[in-house]
């Protein structure tokens, strides 16, 4: 479970971003999204699959994805999600922000590592 409100926000934002990125490759249903994220991260990111659905609901509510009922590869009824134009823009913003943050943290950790080496 998630420990604090801040943690939760960070994780939620990240999951939203990963879902949007996954949908860039085309429409998909929840089950596929979960597996694509897990496989492309080489199983490092294990999402609790259930948490995907509130995230998808939120994304749809904000108009970043749209959904429709379709038939899955295994001939089952499944709800498919598609990235909207707004979602595409959102993904660009999120990705940019994420990269800036990773670089910033990297610089801080890099200088910390140098200090540790000098000591």
């Amino acid at each position: 479970m998630v420990r604090s409100k801040k943690d939760q926000e960070l994780l939620l934002g990240t999951l939203d971003m990963l879902v949007l990125q996954t949908l860039r490759m085309g429409a998909a249903h929840g089950h596929t999204i979960a597996h694509v994220i897990e496989h492309t991260s080489e199983e490092v990111l294990q999402i609790e699959q259930g948490s995907l659905y509130p995230a998808l609901h939120r994304l749809e509510d904000r108009g970043w994805v749209s959904s429709y009922w379709g038939t899955s590869e295994n001939n089952r009824r499944a709800r498919f999600y598609r990235l909207t134009a707004a979602g595409r823009r959102r993904l660009a913003v999120e990705t940019h922000r994420w990269q800036a943050m990773v670089e910033a943290i990297g610089r801080v950790l890099g200088s910390a590592a140098r200090v540790a080496e000098e000591e």
């Binding site: 259930g50 659905y53 509130p54 609901h57 509510d61 295994n74």
Partner: protein
């Protein structure tokens, strides 16, 4: 945020519940294809998914005015408790009423509490050396707002004597 979702949350609930079931069915089929026994396939699918009810609740809450609904529930609960215990309710209401009444609403009007108290107890029972110089807090002619200040200003009024029980109540 669209407001439509508040009106259609039952529909969304059913929709998402079906979706979750479809997801679990897919995962169970995958697991069975990997050679798991049906029961184990089902167990593993639920482990990876987490609790479907929690997921439904989370979506339901997203579609709700949680604060307002909780407030309504609290109010109904409070009312039920008061009705169950009318004696307690009467005392609580009286206490609150007196408390609110004794808070000065404007500097010009003497408060309910002090006027009630002064007519009933203070005027009759205060030991006074010079009745013309006796003042009551809340009265506009009192030179300073607190008792402490009053004691430090010799000559402006007589030393104020309070029945101690009354002072602590006020």
């Amino acid at each position: 945020m669209s407001l439509r979702r508040y009106l259609r949350r039952r529909q969304w609930d059913e929709e998402r519940a079906r979706e979750v079931q479809a997801h679990l069915a897919e995962e169970i089929a995958d697991n069975e294809a990997r050679g798991m026994k049906p029961q184990e396939a089902r167990r593993q699918a639920y482990i990876r998914f987490g609790n479907p009810t929690v997921v439904r609740e989370e979506i339901w809450q997203m579609n709700s005015f949680v604060l307002i609904e909780n407030l309504g529930r609290d109010l109904r609960f409070a009312l039920r408790q008061l009705l169950r215990n009318p004696g307690f309710a009467a005392i609580a209401i009286l206490t609150l009423a007196l408390g609110i009444g004794s808070t000065p609403r404007s500097s010009a009007s003497p408060t309910v509490c002090s006027s009630v108290l002064s007519t009933s107890t203070m005027k009759a029972e205060l030991p006074k050396s010079d009745s013309s110089r006796t003042t009551v807090p809340g009265n506009r002619t009192f030179p300073s707002p607190s008792i402490g200040n009053c004691a430090m200003e010799p000559g402006t009024s007589s030393p104020v004597s309070w029945p101690t029980g009354l002072a602590s109540t006020l």
